[in-house]
């Protein structure tokens, strides 16, 4: 068993000099030149941003319509900016505090790479920037879409979709540009600017991963805050405006109607954009990190056509970025495929969007084959990419089947409404629960297939690299799929604008058609976002263990202890079975740090220490070790085996060391806590919606009572006040859920150590994924069941079934627009926080656990 494990998993990492924790990397080209094809990555990212700018300019060149249309659009725009302005103020405070904590960890406690605080900030900054640009475009596009719809359906579709494309292309462009520029800086310029040795690729990928925490944090704020905002406004507008005052939707007399329209933008545009920005960047970074680790530990994989380690490292690191770059180009192509004809039916409109998505996906398959061939990658990676794309399409179709009114599940919920509210709620919950089987089975099957395609049975890290690549494949066409998502609220706002501006029946008919299309695409987009989070999660779990490994070594490196004169090496016990081993080189600069931990693996090394023998495995060793005189030292056999690709510490050694087994109570408690966090987080966000909505209800009632002219149409409501109330409510209410998400992995890690964190992540991932799918699909199905009834079934509007359906929709609103979509960010943020704080946990977790006497 031991030999099997040692054969399965490899772990050879580049040694870090004590000065910078980034060792000289002799496997890489000393000049650090990048292959010519690599430059296509930042080029594609730049092209995405240029195309986004082009689409933005083309939208801005369109007429915004009548003065009334401009006025309404202006209200929405001002409200959206007011919200973002306030949110960014809160987010900046959060980022400053967390950056200070990270800086203290890096410079004070020395458990973190010094660049992590900066990576954290840029991740958040670019994510926020993408959301801002997307929302800016969306709020400019709504009136223009309505105006374009007055010319033709195709014009309306084109304006709305290209406005969505601005969001999609901005997200993928900024994410890929951020990734490629960071990589370029760390790989080529960091050592030139700050001195020291060039960073090795593993350190580079691990530092870049930390930028995902910034993106995740920003995404959580955008999603939770946006979700609370939009539902508070929606519920306030509905309960008082519709139910109490009898005002139809999008009636300008309703004080909360502008806030409702603003909410569509901040929740479904900025929130969705920040969410998928994080998924996109996270999947690429995690896959890149695993690619480097797979090559470093496992050597050149079978099927790889290259012949040098240095080329393989760069290739495996950059391949996911290259696929993403190709996806950008094909997304742009797909965006131009989206068009329809006048009088198109709903299925024809859906096909108009699908033509772009399917067209891009099919082309990505072809281009992926070309990339694999060109880079000489194993063909299993192509299999993983195709698997990822298929997983995305199946999840999207499954979501459509379980939420669209054309299919049985939603119709069954609508049927239940004839028996009353209770049966409708039960039916919605049941259908939502049942709907989880499609994405869960698909992701599960996708993971296994991608793992197997990439030789996971013989090289676990390469298999995990394949799973990560499947996620990258799934998200490769994000440029167009996100355009489809962002299109929904734009079309919704356009419909609202047309109603409020009292445009003609033909225009309203077209905007209604565009709006209905958006409702379907929004549900599919949410399923896609959640599915990508789950698929990325396995890669992030592996990435977490990578961070643990680096954290172990950093702890050893910081506690450097020079050997006594005449000694071949020095060993320092770090406690809890961890050791720092120090080998002197030919000069001071060659002094190297090795980290190790106790293990009874068959490839462990017996090391005399303080009069006794200890069995250890090496965590990190550097290539420069090979140049050192090892003869006569206990490391001779291990180093020799390492150079031959034989005995190395791997993932299973870390799992053994941290006792990550199901019978370790720390793991099981972590799992429970992960599940608990999902439910508590959902509860907090739903209660937050309730409280914020209550404030909105009071405000709308106040305005109706104090300004009687509002209902008579002789007085304008105070729209800004409603936007302010929703904004303040959202900002206040999102703090507790966010803090829960950020602090829980750290607290669990400090108390229950790495084992507890792994349990927490697994519990959070599995339960969070299922609950998120359940909530999103239940909410979507309730919403569409109501629309199905309003379309003339079971009595239509005003009937008893409709009343029941309205209750179902109200229950489903926070399900599908607040808690559900926030859960996938919770999953990823917990992962990212764990990764960033891994060094802290590695160093202090065992101490605290030991002090509490709960360390198994």
């Amino acid at each position: 068993m031991k030999s099997l494990r040692s054969g399965l998993i490899a772990s050879l990492l580049l040694a870090l000099p004590l000065t910078a924790l980034a060792g000289p990397d002799t496997t890489l080209d000393p000049a650090r030149d990048l292959p010519l094809w690599w430059w296509s990555i930042p080029a594609a990212a730049t092209l995405a941003l240029l195309m986004a700018w082009y689409f933005y300019r083309s939208i801005m060149a369109c007429s915004e319509g009548t003065d009334r249309m401009k006025e309404i659009a202006c209200y929405v725009r001002e409200g959206a900016y007011a919200y973002l302005h306030r949110q960014y103020k809160t987010v900046i405070i959060f980022f400053l505090v967390v950056s200070a904590v990270l800086a203290f960890m890096a410079f004070g406690l020395e458990v973190q790479h010094p660049l992590v605080p900066f990576a954290f900030i840029t991740g958040g900054f670019f994510s926020g920037l993408a959301g801002f640009f997307g929302m800016k475009t969306a709020t400019h596009a709504s009136a223009r879409t309505a105006q374009a719809a007055s010319e033709s359906l195709n014009q309306g579709l084109t304006v709305a979709f290209r406005a969505g494309a601005v969001m999609g292309l901005t997200v993928v462009g900024l994410a890929l540009l951020d990734i490629s520029l960071w990589f370029l800086y760390l790989y080529r310029f960091h050592h030139l600017l700050v001195g020291g040795s060039p960073m090795n690729l593993e350190t580079i990928t691990v530092v870049m991963l930390c930028f995902g925490m910034g993106a995740s944090s920003q995404a959580l704020f955008a999603r939770v805050g946006g979700g609370i905002f939009t539902k508070a406004a929606d519920v306030g507008a509905d309960l008082v405006g519709k139910v109490e005052a009898g005002i139809p939707e999008d009636d300008p007399r309703n004080p909360a109607t502008i806030a409702d329209n603003v909410g569509d933008n901040v929740g479904d545009v900025a929130g969705m954009g920040a969410d998928l920005y994080e998924s996109y960047a996270g999947s690429i970074l995690a896959t890149a990190a695993l690619g480097v680790a797979a090559i470093s530990f496992g050597g050149l994989p079978a099927g790889y056509q290259g012949d040098t380690m240095s080329a393989a490292l760069i290739t495996f690191l950059s391949a996911p970025m290259l696929l993403a770059a190709a996806g950008i180009l094909l997304s742009i192509l797909g965006i131009f495929l989206v068009k329809t004809r006048e009088g198109a039916t709903m299925s024809q409109l859906i096909w108009a969007l699908n033509r772009g998505i399917y067209g891009s996906s099919i082309l990505v398959v072809g281009v992926a084959a070309a990339i694999v061939h060109f880079l000489g990658l194993p063909w299993g990676i192509f299999g993983a990419i195709v698997t990822g794309i298929l997983v995305g399409l199946i999840i999207g179709k499954g979501t459509e089947i379980f939420t669209a009114a054309d299919y049985k599940p939603t119709q069954r919920i609508a049927d239940a409404s004839r028996s009353g509210t209770g049966p409708l709620i039960i039916s919605g919950i049941a259908e939502g629960m049942m709907s989880t089987w499609v994405p869960i089975a698909t992701v599960g099957l996708g993971m296994i297939l991608a793992f197997a395609f990439c030789q996971g049975t013989t090289n676990m890290l390469l298999g995990l690299y394949g799973v990560g690549f499947a996620a990258v494949g799934m998200l490769s066409t994000l440029g167009i799929t996100l355009a489809t998502d962002a299109y929904g609220p734009i079309a919704d706002n356009a419909g609202g604008n047309a109603e409020m501006a009292q445009l003609g029946p033909e225009v309203r008919k077209r905007t209604d058609a565009l709006d209905s299309l958006g409702n379907t695409t929004a549900a599919i987009g949410k399923g896609f976002a959640i599915g990508s989070a789950a698929l990325t999660a396995l890669a992030l779990l592996a990435a977490y263990m990578e961070e643990v490994r680096v954290g172990l070594h950093r702890e050893a490196a910081v506690a450097y202890q020079a050997p006594a004169p005449g000694q071949a090496y020095a060993v320092k016990a770090l406690g809890f079975g961890k050791y720092g081993i120090y080998l002197p080189g030919n000069d001071t600069a060659d002094h190297l740090t090795l980290s190790a931990f106790e293990s009874q693996s068959d490839h462990s090394l017996i090391l005399p220490f303080e009069g006794r023998d200890i069995e250890i495995v090496l965590n990190q060793i550097g290539e420069a070790v090979y140049t050192l005189p090892l003869h006569g030292t206990p490391f001779e056999r291990l180093i020799g085996d390492t150079t031959g690709g034989g005995l190395k510490a791997g993932l299973n050694d870390y799992m053994d060391y941290y006792n990550i087994t199901l019978i370790n109570p720390n793991v099981l408690v972590g799992v429970f806590l992960g599940v608990m966090l999902v439910f508590m987080f959902s509860a907090q966000t739903m209660k937050a919606v309730g409280r914020a909505a209550s404030a909105m209800v009071q405000e709308v009632r106040r305005q109706f009572a104090e300004f009687p002219g509002i209902m008579a149409g002789t007085q304008k409501p105070d729209y800004a006040r409603c936007v302010y109330i929703s904004t303040v409510g959202a900002q206040r209410e999102m703090i507790v859920p966010t803090l829960m998400a950020v602090t829980m992995p750290v607290a669990v890690g400090l108390v229950l150590d790495v084992a507890g964190v792994m349990g927490l992540l697994v519990g959070g991932l599995t339960s969070g994924y299922a609950v998120a799918v359940f909530m999103a699909n239940s909410g979507g199905a309730w919403d569409n069941a109501k629309k199905y009834i309003e379309a003339g079934h079971h009595g239509g509007k005003g009937s008893d079934p409709h009343k029941a359906a309205v209750v179902g929709d109200t229950v489903g609103d926070p399900f599908k627009d607040t808690s559900g979509p926030s859960l996938n960010i919770l999953i990823k943020l917990m992962n990212m926080v764990s990764i960033v704080f891994a060094g802290l946990i590695v160093k202090y977790g065992p101490q605290i656990g030991s002090w509490l006497n709960i360390r198994p």
Partner: protein, 254 residues
Amino acid sequence: MTPHLYLICNRLEALVASHLTAEDFGTYMAVGTRKNNYGNVMFFEIDPAVRHAYPAADAALRQCTPRPDGQPRRSKYASIYRVMENLPRSAFNRLYLGTRDGRVLGLDPTEPASEPLESSPYLYQELAPVAPLVTSSLAPAAFADHITNPANLVHVPRIFFADLRVDRDPDGHLAGSLPYPHPPHIEDCLRDMAEQPGKKIKTVNRNPEMRAFYRTIRHGFYLGDQDGLTAYPFPTSETLDALHHPWWRSASME
């Protein structure tokens, strides 16, 4: 400021003088100034010349003076209870249909169609002076004649009612788009009526909730007595959506 006369006539009968136009009056009746009255409001505009035949109307018109602050008087009630029967049918001008949020649609009076547009049984919502939901084998003119006939044990002097949709789905049940509570019960009543040729009227619901009422209107409203029938045709949903969109959107809500 010229005062107008309006007769509110669903469930409650009230003759009201007001300086407001019919549209503004409808909005005022629906949403008030500081309170929000619940429910649809239906009222006729009454020819002010009726003051010569109906003293209460004359008194209300005289007392309908601008408010001390110069604002128009919104409502001066002249009479409630058994008003409709005492006004000459010729004095009933347009019929106005108000929604909960104060949108108002005016319908012009016409002569009823000479031939029934659909075969029996019919579904009628009586609106004033009594308000049950009934099925009947009689077409609107015959129904009005029957219900106002003093020879019948149960009768009223004049009746204001609407005929309602009984569209069927292909499976024979009431159309899914109709918002009636307990549609199976209505189907049973309609079937009973069809199976009993001699039966003229059957009560379906003595106190119906009248939800989404305007969506259930088939041909329109009728005001009838022993002297004849005045019809107020209701536009098709297509016409309403195209020409009266804000009203129709509001009316389509519950």
